[in-house]
């Protein structure tokens, strides 16, 4: 009886270990590769690029509207508003960055 229960315990332990191994493997496979967070500079560069893209889109839409190629006023207005908003945001972020830079410069070590 005692011998049997020890055998069963050993068997159950082995099963649990094996089950854990399988679970770990599955979880490893399912885990998505962690995206690198990217530096502050990269984020800034990407944002500036998208702001610039919006400005380009706005310019193309204005030219097409002025020359009568498209008669689409609302799209023009939306893209102008978007570009303006992005530009304003860029300005705000820029002044915050400059402010923090100045603060760091004034720190005494």
């Amino acid at each position: 009886m005692v011998v049997k229960s020890i055998a069963i315990n050993a068997y159950q332990d082995a099963m649990q270990t094996r089950g854990r191994e399988i679970r770990d493997t599955v979880a490893d496979r399912l885990r998505k590769p962690q995206e690198s967070a990217g530096g502050f500079g990269d984020t800034l560069k990407d944002s500036l690029k998208s702001v610039n893209d919006m400005q380009t889109e706005k310019r193309v839409l204005i030219e097409e509207f002025a020359s009568g190629k498209t008669q689409n006023v609302h799209e023009l207005m939306i893209s102008m508003q978007k570009a303006g908003m992005a530009m304003q945001m860029t300005g705000a972020v820029r002044s915050k960055i400059m402010q923090s830079y100045k603060e760091i410069m004034q720190m005494s070590f």
């Binding site: 030219e63 020359s67 009568g68 023009l76 300005g91 705000a92 820029r94």
Partner: protein, 136 residues
Amino acid sequence: MRGLFERHIQLTGKVMDLRLQRQNIVGGNIANVNTPGYKARRLEFEEKLQSALNQDDLGKMTRTSEAHLPATFSPDGFKGEGFSEFKGREVIGKDSVNLDKEMTENAKNTMMYNALAMVIKKNFQGMQKVVQEGAK
């Protein structure tokens, strides 16, 4: 070289000029609605402007080298084309001006002019904002 004012600002101004001219021509047509033998005049510039701006499918090219011939549009030399509609037969006492057509043209032109005025106003406001923000 890019100056302070981009091309689309000049272009908007030029198109507003042309729309003003069109307004004058349509006004002249309406004023002459009772003149015998008067032929309605038109101002067309859209198609020529589109090809001048390389917006038609044929003209969509990109410059890959600085040495290539620049296709940049300068709004200074651009002109609209005014012409009178062909009219074969002249009926004395009847006008050739279609008043409904002229009124529609007038309304459309006014709306486009207002939209362009708003566009150029917003452009300048945006630039002003950027300049003010940058100075802070």
